[in-house]
Symmetry: D2
Subunit: 443 residues, 4 copies
């Protein structure tokens, strides 16, 4: 109930914003509209959730939904509103409570204890969001002193940042729900299940010097820069993602008990954690099921497998006589693909379940490059030649994580379609399984 009122309120403010737009010179109307739309989409994602759903933390890597709600507001408060000495923060404790990892801002409440905070509660957290939104819209619609601050750039970063947390809201929540024997349903939806996706085909790319990295007028993260030259040998890329059916063959062929298929570190995880299937797969009687955001469902064999770690993706590829593509290979191949696909905003608008499906496959052409499931690449996350992190706290956004992580490309059903780009670099540690991460093979 509350989130709906909140959304209405945002749109009223937006309408007001449109009326006053002629007096604003600094910030473009479309950015304000996008600010409102993205903030409102966060509330949409949470509208079905109880106070309890929003406050629990299921592991150190995942955060409570309510923490995401607060942290994304904190981001605007800290990096934009706080630049104005007149601005009064909503609550001075929040500086520490909702700082994720910005050492330059100051101390941080311990990450693994985010689930120990029953206060501020959900209502107060929404009040915080409202407070920040009001201040933001007031700020964006007023004249901004020409002090060198690139306000639009910070707002854009805040929007992109919020979209990243929208994805985490979905994946963290799915992880939490998976721990509950009641297998709660986050959001029902039509299931677009397929039966036959056709054999895997291979698309060939020629050797040569290519360019990768972002170029253009729009937004990109610092880690997509600078655009630079790379030399690639000739390679082939599979036309679609690996399906659950194909992955099930690997499982049933004893893939999880053959050390020769695994990286040494991956084999450690297999043994230490008892991995023998993707984390959300369950055998119920004779049938394989999968826990999804729409509850426990029969396994859709035609859908791309997801929630596999880098170790599993790599082992599967070795078992299949192939390998994972490098991020360079992926990006070069993606140049001719439209960034269409199964994305969170589209699926919700169409009342389709938030789960990878086979609808995006069209014949033999390179498909499913965007949406459905992030694609693990063989590339360790590292700086592009000439990369330098921005100064100050925002320089902590990407650069400091460039170690022991692997790059994933293309977005997933938990990503918004307005958030992805061919040059977009996502990254997770190789044992991570709680993201919608899948497999595309290369040769």
């Amino acid at each position: 109930m509350f989130p709906l009122a909140y959304v209405l309120c945002l749109w009223v403010v937006m309408i007001m914003a449109q009326e006053v737009e002629s007096r604003t010179v600094t910030i473009g109307e479309s950015l304000i509209e996008r600010y409102i739309a993205i903030r409102s989409f966060t509330a949409t994602l949470c509208e079905t959730l109880s106070a309890e759903d929003c406050c629990l933390q299921s592991m150190a890597n995942a955060s409570p939904v309510r923490w995401h709600l607060a942290h994304t507001s904190w981001f605007f408060e800290t990096f934009l509103l706080g630049l104005d000495p007149q601005y009064r923060v909503f609550d001075e404790h929040y500086e520490v409570l909702f700082n994720s990892y910005y050492n330059a801002v100051g101390e941080q409440f311990p990450r693994d204890q985010r689930g120990l905070l029953s206060r501020p509660d959900l209502d107060e957290t929404y009040a915080y969001r409202e407070y920040v939104d009001e201040a933001m819209l007031a700020r964006l619609q007023s004249e901004w002193p020409a002090d060198g601050t690139d306000v639009a750039q910070i707002v854009e970063l805040g929007i992109q940042h919020e979209q990243q947390h929208q994805e985490l809201i979905l994946t963290d929540l799915k992880h939490l729900f998976s721990k509950n024997p009641l297998f709660p349903v986050y959001r029902d939806g039509e299931r677009d299940t397929g039966t036959n996706v056709g054999p895997m085909n291979w698309s060939t790319c020629d050797e040569g010097i290519h360019e990768i990295g972002y170029v253009g007028e729009g937004f990109s993260f610092d880690n997509e820069l600078p655009r630079h030259r790379v030399f690639l040998e000739r390679y082939k890329l599979a036309n679609r993602l690996v399906t659950s059916e194909e992955y099930l063959e690997f499982v049933e062929d004893g893939g999880y008990s053959k050390p020769e298929l695994w990286l040494a570190l991956g084999w450690d995880y297999v043994n230490r954690e008892g991995w023998e299937k993707p984390p959300y797969w369950y055998r119920v009687g004779d049938e394989w099921h999968e826990f999804t955001l729409a509850g426990l469902q029969p396994l859709d064999l035609a859908a791309p497998v997801s929630h596999v770690s880098y170790f599993e993706a790599d082992a599967f590829a070795r078992w299949a006589g192939a390998r994972l593509p490098t991020e360079t290979e992926w990006e070069v191949a993606s140049n001719n693909c439209p960034t269409h696909g199964n994305f969170a905003d589209k699926l919700i608008a169409d009342s389709v379940a938030l789960h990878p499906n086979s609808s995006g496959i069209a014949g033999d052409s390179l498909a499913q490059m965007f949406g459905d499931a992030w694609e693990w690449t063989a590339s360790s996350y590292s700086p592009y030649p000439g990369y330098s992190a921005p100064p100050g706290a925002l320089g902590e956004y990407n650069g400091k994580f460039m170690c022991n992580q692997y790059v994933l490309r293309g977005g997933s059903v938990a990503t918004s379609s307005t958030h992805i780009r061919p040059t977009y670099r996502n990254f997770f540690s190789p044992e991570s399984r709680w993201q919608f991460a899948g497999i595309r093979l290369a040769k």
Copy 2:
């Protein structure tokens, strides 16, 4: 809001119960009244709490309040209602979800993951309580087949069990709130702070054969049985609990940095956990404060120190040139003391803060034996000579915990006055600090 309705509903049912009482022969009216009163008091304790406050778990030893709400109902459902083959459980998942540790009942949801369950939510949990209460009252008011089941005994055990969880609701919540830098207030109340409690005096008991253990018609736990003879040497017991002022002297005298005062295991904790004061004491500027259920408050020097571990109690006693009493010594001395004191039900009724205070001291006589703070004894928790656990799941109630725990006596501000007895044996592991546990000296 909900708890209030719930309480009303319970009382309506009670009035109905009184009308039908003439038809019930098996279960006494007073037991039914007590059932209703105790169940209602649980709701009273939770009436100020949000859904978030009720679902978090701050450590493996503590449970979410909502879990306590469900588990206490599960207890009646499992051990009484379930005896009737006609009874339909509220939700079949609950058998596992809310089983604490009864192996004879079956599998248990892992204790350290109780804080991962956002469902059933608080409303559904109250609905569960209502469902059980209705079934219980219907059952208690009907004729019970003479099949040998001592129904009254099970109901009584369930009531006593619920009172134990009422205490845990308070202490687990206090622990949770203490992790929050906002220092939430559970319940405001008048603070009965003293300034001078007078010097400690010593009460002497003579050597001889004494009897301890429960005897009588009323209820006792199995661990208080059988009453038996013990030989005691002459000893002295302090007339009151150790105050925060006295404990502060110990702290300021470097008590936490003198290994000669500590048991070896306690010294390990001091060093590993960085103990240097009771867990809820904080220095704010120049002043000592204490986190209480009424929020952060200046340290009341006259109040009994609480939330100390057995190790701290033992080290303090050594520092003070005394020792802790054995449970036998405590029980024998308590025989002449009325079981009055600062208890949860009384303090709430009187709108006094739920925190130990010095109001119970009267001159030099043996005081504070009951209420305020549990008193650590030097006695390891072990079976009395001739003890045997009851058969079946209820036999797991006490006996299986008789290892590496120490006995505490007398109740605390989180205990109900109707729950305590001189023979009552509470027990916790020696490093536990989250209970209202304090210190009485012996010689």
Copy 3:
């Protein structure tokens, strides 16, 4: 080779000592002889060991043999030789390196890192022992200034201390060897295996006030004092230890998979550690074997079971419809038993394997009370009424360990016959399994 020379050297010194005895007045000849004998027996125990055998540490609770060799010398150096300001220590680093846990002496090299020291090596360690022995004998044979130091008492304590470490040398070594798939043999010996020990009988003791604790002229540890009165109900004690055959029945009856038999903490260990039999039992093909100090051997069914934890002893007793005796019950019953039995010094002298056996059973009388295996009692290790630890570092010997440990009585095949008494209180934490600890039942 070296230890033999060392023993010879000690005896030469002893002969010299006898010649000069008329000039010594303070220390009795027999104490000097015992000093030499006990020190020499330590070397005897190690004479079959390689430098490697002596330097490894298999867990934090066990120490390298070489550490025991050094620490026992350090004890005499620190607590006796060091009293003489003229005395020059062998190596000043040893004060820290070989201090076990005496905070009053100073810093200690971390216990769990004793296995990281390759230096001083074995030769140097024996040189250290020789250095200390020479200084000790010189000291003991000279006039001692009447300064109040009870030299004989300290020497006696050092001797008793060394005997305790002799036992640890054997049990720590056995634990280390058990980790090696080669199952090394420490010392071969005749195996006194039995076939039939007869049924268990019960010896009855009457109720009444008894006295326990040490009294007399000889040596006792502080924890055996003071002698005091206790009241005991009538009880029965089994006439012999539980055999491996009886314990095997428990194993084969699923004893390790029935939670109702176990203390809660024990059940945690069963599950966490995967206990399903005593630690040194192995199934080789169809036959049960046991790792012994004489290597891997077929299980001797008639021998007392050993290397069980308190949890296993307690669970077995419950399975058998009995219980463990309290230490009081044990001591009172032992009063009429001779302290004969299978002890380390006797077994080595007789070339019998260092393993419990059934030779000590004689008809239905109370047997095996001493030797073979320590007997777990139901008593938590706590101070006797009126106990006070001695002042200074030696006060750390016993008192500070009185927490979360259980008392064992009677000695084992790793104890020397000259070390045991009816009042002797050994103690280990309830999960400990690396000692020769067995089971006697009570009712």
Copy 4:
């Protein structure tokens, strides 16, 4: 004493080998000579060590020296001698005991328990080596059936493998000794300490397509293959390694307390492990010292800093306004450098201490590229384009470790000069500090 006899014995065998050489056709004489020389050098490295020094394990990542002695022989036994069905292994337990990580060979004794094996002792381990050497020499000098096995290739791999373990013997031993407050000296030697190495200069390389990876007739590991093309932007490389003096400036400038200098994962290590200087640096009074293989020594300010983790190398580079080179940049630049430097075999031959020093610097030219200290690169260890691991157990040698490790180049004072190549890829996890790893800057 024993190792010397062993070396003599090897040379006698070699002389015999030379006499029979005319009858051997398959294996070249020089390979046999190298086999003997490398095997003998292992013994040389251990000749100063006691049995105790050789059997301890100081952490899971390090192995006892004796384990290295056995494992390197096991390697020849398993991968070459075992191919002959007539061959009888020295001890069948060794297959498991000394298998490091070859799943295709079978089960492995747990890596972190290698320090629990006192048997086989040092003498027996040398006997094992002798047994394998005799069998190897017999085998190498006889006609080998033309069955397709590339015997020379396996022998060569075994030799290179042994050289890698020679380096580990030194670094594992140094780590072990560093835990001992006695700071044992492994091997004395002349210290070549400098006072001034001159300012850092920069060597420039131009952009373009380069080739890296091994090419030629000689030996290389599979991970150096295939040679392939890469595109490099223009870059600069420092002419020498970072000195201890420069690193000390970083330390004294608070480098370890400035989060902005560190990768997030590195900052975790700094805080969790309390890093505040390189692990072997110690402040003694006012002076900085360093634990070396020649014992505790005053810090040589002119020598290259070593024993830093990737995190420290990366943080230092950021502090210095530079970065670490990629392995591609390093290899391309190294093409014109002779592979001379301070290596283990040279230093021991010259009786110089096994510690990095400044002797290799010559004016402004690119120096210290080989020897002294391994150089951390910014490159995650990953397969070259087109890489494929060999089939069978030897395919586990390199490929399966390509995850969460960083590449180091150039060798160290613990490497042999005959072992290194410009294309050589060493790799360790980024937190590793026990290798002689240092820093070269790039821009």
